[in-house]
Amino acid sequence: MDFPINPPIGERVRRKETQRFVTGTGRFVDDLLPPGTLHASFTRSPCAHARINSVDASAALTMPGVRAVFTGKDIADRIKPMRVGGSPLLRPLKLYPLAVDKIRYFGEPVAVVVADNRYLAEDAVEAIAIDYEPLPAVIDPEAALEPGATPVHDVLGGNKVYKFHFATDGIDEIFAKADVVVKERIRSHRITACPIEPRAYLAHYSPDEDSLTMWSATANPHSLRGRIADVINFPEGKIRVIAPDVGGSFGVKIQTYQEELLLPFISRELGRPIKWCETRVEHMRNGRHGRDQIHYIEMALKKDGTILGLRDRIIADMGSTYTVDHSIMASALYMTGVYQIQNYAVDATGVSTNKTTHGSLRGIGKADAAYVIERLVDIAARKLNIDPIDIRMKNFIPAESFPYRNVTGALYDSGQYHLCLKRTAEIAGYEKLKQEQAELRKKGICRGIGVALVMEPTSSSRIHATGGYASCRMRIDPSGAATVFSSMGEQGQGHETTIAQIVASQTGIPFEKITVIHGDTLPTPYGFGTGSSRSSVVLMPSAWVAAKKMREKLVGIGARLIGVPPERLEIGDGKVFAKEKRDQAIAIAEIIRTAYGAIHLLPENMEPGLETMGTFVNPNIDYAPDDKGRMNTFSSYPYAGVIAVVDVDVETGFINIVRYCTVHDCGNMINPQIVDTQQQGSIMQGIGAALYEELRYDEEGRLLSSTFMDYRLPCVEEVPELALEHIVTPNPFTPLGAKGAGETGMLGPPPALCNAVEDALAPLGVKIRETPLTPDRILDLIEKAKSSHG
């Protein structure tokens, strides 16, 4: 590598952005209130599936402070439908921001009221009269595929909206000849990301300038800009999207929503700023949902635990107005996880149901795959009476096989799975844990030990969907301060700090003097949203490329000014100096002055000024499958070993996590403090998914978990004792060697805790195939096990 990675890269530097958050001076969308702002509120469907016979807004229009009401019919011929999907495998649909003639999920927006304040807008929503003609709700994804099932989308005729198939040769013979076949139905249940800031939008069309500014709590400002232009038929060049401070996303804010496309339209109609801040109930019903896959999976093994092949059938519930297929693809392509499995077949079906739209959620698709394979390996180990660590060690991809091409064509950049799990077992004290478990069992305490090693592909590249590259532009001002313009927004990841660390380390500009601008489409380079943990894989390298160009420029000017060739120069202490003779030096301040003001002194052919652009492209990506259907769509492969220890109270069904130990490998860390904090949050989100959180629908398709009362996020009391460690295997294909750190934490708890609880209750014969592991479910399972053994 021709470019050093100096401090402060790799240091636990305090985050720049934190200062404004602790003083209450952060700026979120709901904090903005331009003069003349009107407020929107939505009428939402009280049922899951119905025809709309009529919408009567006449009473609402006479209510105090009401300025306008729009229904689906009002807008349908005035705006273009939203785009659905980027994948040719998805069946296309025409969808509008407000339901036009049919309701397809509970809480779908049907009409919008615009009024002087949010209270008045909500009052008027109550006065809109809608006549619905109910249709049978399609809720169970398997029933939705039966012949004769009511179609969610009439134009499609049936509910199968996506199909993917992959198989290696001879898979059936492998299963026929295997010593053992383990066969299970495993379901990953429906959850949602739940950032603490709900969605919030403020559209401001200025009639004087004929331009539109859209403030959005989005994780994807540049893509949103194009979509608004499309749908409201307004030039993209006249639209500026600003994502100011965004209060978390975890995937849910990366996608474009109905309200986000409707507000700009209304603002243009009325010539006033229009604001809408989602309520929590609305968020639960309309924010994208995730997971919700059923797997009929089989594993063929030798008696000694060697895995011979894997066969899966996936049914993925995509909800009503599905927009992407990333989840199914990631599950189907990565089901073989961290194991050497070169015989594999999968049939994946995406199903439309009368539920909320399925979409991005921290670990999309990859979490389902990691969950199912890590459960199945454990189930196989129990059946063969092999230790869960031993069976994994036997089948892991060995460190010397990297870069490793998996069966579906994915190219795993690097990994040391054996070392990682060995270290996890050491910090957990695995052997001792097993002894303790045996003793506790004698005393009637149900202790369980759960093992998992989860791998999470990061930085996906899908055509027209996630780009596959990122950019940073930077400028050193004549004063000596630097500004970096990043193509990606942030929602808590700390880019203002990590980008500044990279730029400081390479250019010699002090960290304190570097400002990072993000989330605003006007000054920043074009780019795709923050998701798939891609910031450290492509965005940070792009900052590195911009800084490298800047460094070359500074050194080039310095070389000319002091008469020493650039190869012999170094940057440090605010100077460019000769490596062997440090007193041959020139201050960076002098170089900057020269670059702007004394351009006759610049090296020949060098442009004046100090501005550079850096772009980094995801390495090793395939954009089309080979003749066997294999392709690599992700560029980095971080992973984590987990050992969870639980006690299950068989009287109450309550699970106590005694200890959660994990060893994480996300490659090089730009700021280990930020990685640690993010990982703790990610693990807690995974614990929530495993134990508490579930989006439940009743038979009529009404969402039963619409508030924090019935959709329970973990609170501080539920944080277990955590032991976190890292091993570092740098990604050899990126200049910083980072792999992405946002999602792996969340992948661990569902399989590790299920494995642990099943282990704890093994003497009772309890099998866990459905989650979350609520006390009710545990008691129920214990009861069932008793009666089937009794």
Binding site: R14, V22, G26, Y119, R280, Q673, Q680, M684, V716
Partner: protein, 154 residues
């Protein structure tokens, strides 16, 4: 509509409020103190926590008119003379913040806990912020920050 007047962060502030106007909306929309956040508006997330007459309260659960003549402290009132409060310093140092949306509420719940001048136990710290949700940090650094600030509280 009623005109109400209260002391916010040591200053007398007044404004119009309907009888149903929530304190959080009065602070944010009328007084334009936007540091206090809204995450659920039904008392379940804690993002809106402020001090009301010396005790932490979820300001989405209080009507503005109830606070007429009272004393309210919001996150904007923690720093004095541009110097960060020890809690703010500790949150920064211990990396107790990611997206920052829950942070003002966390700080005010912690402020309520530490106001009595006693050094809290781990269990008391957890209890004090058990009504505040954070989706980003996993809480560990927040607890550590409050523990650290407890030592420096004035």
């Amino acid at each position: 509509m009623a005109n109400i007047s209260l002391t916010v962060n040591g200053e007398t502030r007044s404004g119009e409020a309907e009888s149903r106007t929530l304190l959080v909306h009065f602070l944010r929309d009328t007084l334009r103190l936007t540091g206090t956040h809204v995450g659920c508006v039904v008392g379940r997330c804690g993002a809106c926590t402020v001090m009301w007459n010396g005790a932490p309260v979820k300001s989405c659960m209080v009507f503005a008119v109830q606070t007429d003549g009272d004393e309210v402290v919001t996150v904007e009132g923690l720093a004095r003379d541009k110097r960060l409060h020890p809690l703010q310093e500790a949150f920064w140092k211990k990396d107790a913040v990611e997206c920052g949306y829950c942070t003002p509420g966390m700080l005010m719940s912690a402020y309520g806990l530490l106001s009595n001048g006693k050094t809290p136990t781990e269990a008391e710290i957890k209890k004090a912020i058990s009504g505040n949700l954070c989706r980003c940090t996993g809480y560990g650094n927040i607890v550590a920050a409050i523990r650290e600030a407890a030592g420096n509280f004035k």
